[in-house]
Symmetry: C3
């Protein structure tokens, strides 16, 4: 549920730069930096897995293996964030929605779109920093298809 | 024709979020929400068709069929907005130009770039809301090729 | 080296629109407009070439041939800027980092991702305008591969 109050230019800037840094952390294999953007009890749900991951440790565990595999294979993967929407919710929650184009490059190329995710986050502010308390990621290629690994 | 006055951070935020919501409306098949972002007498011209569509009803009619076809086929199509420029024009018109990467996903994938559009809009403000009074969309694949359906 | 001071909404707007215009200048074949965004002694280094280009004239020379080839071949190429990060550095330098998805369309299509570049710029302000004094561009497909033309 969101309210209709205007999003300030300061918040727009803060959220935009938050994501630019958050996405780079993952793309550069800095999983702990990436995970630090979640609350301790953050929830990560995705249509890739049947159950959500709950808590920063579980989220880090889920992301770490995939990140290491990319590093080992020298595959570069970029989360290209576009079409970011921001809305105020109740209780100072900030809703941020984006389209992430996942662009994948093996050594020497070719570069290609691997998939597209919609990402819907609930952000809160703690110690003057934004943190993700709930993330819902949906890969478009799985919306109308069986879940991977199910 | 544009003036050289600076674009404020507030306007940048407003226009950016306007497009994030406008593009989602189309991508989620909410054609009436999308059409509501045009003025009653809005003009939509594109290099896909020889004649412009004039008026909100004509614009809705043009977009509705394509949107329904995608829903029927369970194809997800995202207008990924990038490289947004904003300029002040005469008479309080705001010129907004963007690159929209159209990313298409059939059920189960694969996801691919379908085409790229440049979008040049004239925005005006009415009842504190931004509205599109004129849109010019060009698909890059048709710029140097025969018009589709001509 | 960067400081931790907050990026203002005004600077975020200015840098975002700077890149929207800068990228369009190149994509539309206006090489001199594009080159004018560098300082006279600007440095352009990339993993496509072994040596950096130093000075606006050398940078223009390097870009002009490629731009003319695209115009001759009627190929449209768009630098789709995403995931822009901005940080304050020492001595009023502004560090701006982005992911540019290079989307290429030959006449009639098909449109495809050609490659992805990470772009790390040092911006300074001169006569109230932003200028690039150093650019480091890396094509992802060349990071783990031999340099083109080496």
């Amino acid at each position: 549920m969101t309210t209709t109050s205007m999003v300030s230019a300061e918040l727009h800037t803060e959220v935009t730069l938050f994501y630019a840094r958050h996405m780079r952390a993952m793309d550069e294999g800095r999983v702990l930096d990436w995970t630090a953007d979640f609350t301790d009890d953050g929830v990560f749900e995705t249509n890739v897995r049947p159950d959500p991951q709950i808590g920063r440790a579980a989220i880090a565990n889920g992301a770490g293996g995939a990140a290491q595999k990319l590093l080992d294979d020298k595959v570069l993967r970029r989360h290209c964030l576009t079409t970011l929407d921001i809305r105020h919710g109740l209780d100072d929650v900030i809703h941020a929605s984006s389209y992430a184009i996942i662009v994948r490059t093996p050594p020497g190329g070719p570069t290609a779109v691997e998939f597209l995710c919609t990402c819907d986050d609930e952000l809160i502010r703690a110690n003057e920093q934004l943190l993700i308390r709930r993330r819902s990621v949906k890969r478009d290629d799985l919306v109308f298809a069986p879940t991977l690994g199910a």
